[in-house]
């Protein structure tokens, strides 16, 4: 994907810092001077130890929190609030429990001008894309974790966002389901050509998925290094090169 470097970066995280007031009255610097960019169509993972501010960074990029310094830009425009251009997928799914799978997928479409027929068509397209056909009328409480997250992804993609922001989306499913969802996500990514920014604490997951891995380190959270993963997909965990990338990222996290 050499041509990407010449294009305008889709997401630019520019000198982002975030300080909180801790309970005891001190200022805690959660993030400091975070700089990186994500190109159009790229799959970027953010990894780091717990407490490095990954989730805070995710929330800032999503527009759910404002940085105390720096800016996040999407296609050149500063991000100030959540909007349809950034689809969000959460670890705990965040599905509307009173809506069926289809109802969840249609939620965003109901906020657009799409008429009922168009909404139904688009929702069905997304449901087929994530492999949920046959479960359209199931409520979230009737679905397994993996199925719930498929609904979450379909819902986020339904309004055709510029980027997909995912915060540890597969952190609550078992290992087998996670492997399957990795394959599915890569297939969906290839098909939709979306830009994906994916937060995880799991290095193996990051090496499995990402074009590039942004390694954050602690205290305060900042970019330690950006590791490109130039391996062909599908990637095998038993492959030597896979292991070398994994070691590299783990070393960066360990040594800070």
């Amino acid at each position: 994907m050499a041509e990407l470097s010449e294009q305008l970066a889709r997401i630019e995280v520019d000198g982002v810092g975030k300080a909180f007031d801790s309970g005891s009255g001190d200022r805690v610097q959660a993030l400091s001077n975070v700089d990186f960019a994500v190109d159009e169509g790229e799959f970027v993972c953010i990894v780091g130890p717990s407490g490095c501010g990954k989730t805070t960074l995710f929330r800032i990029i999503a527009g759910l929190e404002t940085p105390t310094s720096g800016t996040v830009r999407l296609d050149g425009d500063a991000v100030t609030e959540p909007d349809m251009d950034r689809g969000m997928v959460f670890q705990e799914y965040g599905l509307f429990p009173w809506r069926t799978a289809r109802g969840n997928v249609e939620f965003g479409l109901e906020q657009t001008d799409a008429d009922e027929r168009e909404r139904a068509r688009r929702a069905q397209e997304m449901i087929d894309l994530v492999g949920l056909d046959g479960f359209e009328d199931a409520y979230p409480s009737e679905l397994s974790g993996g199925m719930k997250q498929r609904v979450g992804i379909a819902r986020a993609l339904a309004v055709d966002p510029e980027v997909l922001l995912m915060d540890e989306p597969f952190g609550s499913v078992d290992a087998q389901t996670r492997d399957m969802l990795h394959d599915e996500l890569l297939r969906i990514w290839a098909k939709t050509e979306k830009t994906i920014l994916f937060v995880t604490h799991d290095v193996e997951e990051a090496v499995t998925l990402a074009d590039r891995i942004v390694v954050l380190t602690n205290g305060p959270g900042t970019v330690n290094e950006i590791v490109p993963v130039d391996l062909d997909r599908p990637r095998s965990r038993t492959d030597d090169a896979f292991g070398r990338h994994q070691e590299r990222v783990l070393d960066l996290i360990r040594d800070g």
């Binding site: 349809m84 705990e92 965040g94 509307f96 009173w98 965003g108 009737e142």
Partner: protein, 271 residues
């Protein structure tokens, strides 16, 4: 799809479970019947031992009083009188309670402004307002309606408030990322549906609690079933008192069952 194995396991288990459940249900119904018969026998024995119907009327006396109250049309007339303040009081109190509860649960400004007032007023039992009901409206349908409304208000206020307070933050974040940017839409599309189970619990609780208030208000002289209980007792017609006590129970059981059906339909998404 292999991740569906959990569902398959459940459906495998269903037939065996169903047999066991219906066996247990049969046993429970038999025991219930036995308990009821035992209770009636004990009651009858007690009534025979005391042998003073104005202290304890026998089940037979109650049954015959029931038939005569029903046949004379008095029972339905008294019930209608009670419903005439129960229903409007319940509807108005529930509506206002939900509205204020949702408002305060949603808006921090409103919450901060009204919390001291609600904290002081909420513990006051609705019946304590009877003084105002008498002075302002008089103790008829109006006064009773007023007191019932106060009772319904606080129950629904509290449930709606805590229902809205506990709407998961995630859902609002997701909704914002899917194009919900103003408060009214957020309330309509996310907050109210999410708080519906608690709001309905409030409504159901108030359906029961308001009957207590109705009876209490009628003890002060508003016409209706509760007044009839006291009135009959003053004439030492305890069998008639019991009849009207049972009328309240029956009305509650019917309205609660109806409401459960509605609730079950509205909350089909749970489980």
């Amino acid at each position: 799809m292999s991740i569906e194995s959990a569902t398959e396991r459940e459906s495998d288990a269903t037939p065996g479970t169903r047999v066991r459940v219906s066996g247990a249900a049969l046993r429970r119904h038999l025991l219930g019947l036995l308990g009821t018969v035992g209770f009636l026998l004990a009651w009858q024995a007690g009534a025979m031992a005391i042998a003073k119907p104005f202290l304890l009327p026998s089940p037979f006396a109650v049954a015959s009083a029931f038939v005569s109250e029903l046949a004379s049309g008095r029972m339905l007339a008294k019930l209608a009188q009670s419903l005439f303040h129960y229903v409007p009081g319940l509807v108005v109190g529930t509506g206002l309670g939900i509205a204020v509860g949702v408002g305060m649960g949603w808006s921090e400004t409103l919450d901060s402004a009204l919390t001291p007032v609600t904290r002081v007023l909420r513990p006051i039992p609705p019946l304590a307002w009877i003084a105002f009901a008498i002075v302002w409206i008089g103790i008829g349908h109006g006064g009773a309606t007023f007191i019932v409304a106060i009772g319904a208000f606080w129950i629904n206020f509290y449930n709606a408030y805590s229902g809205v307070e506990s709407v998961p933050e995630d859902l609002q974040d997701v909704a914002a990322s899917l194009g919900i940017h103003d408060d009214l839409r957020m309330i309509r599309k996310v907050v109210l549906p999410s708080a519906t189970p608690e709001i309905l619990t409030g409504v159901r609780t108030s359906i029961g609690q308001c009957w207590m208030i109705v009876v209490a208000a009628e003890l002060f002289g508003a016409p209706g079933v509760g007044y009839q209980i006291i009135n009959a007792a003053q004439n030492l017609a305890m069998d008639v008192s019991v009849v009207y006590m049972l009328v309240i129970s029956a009305v509650f059981l019917v309205s609660d069952a109806l409401f459960r059906t509605v609730e079950g339909r509205l909350l089909a998404w749970r489980n």
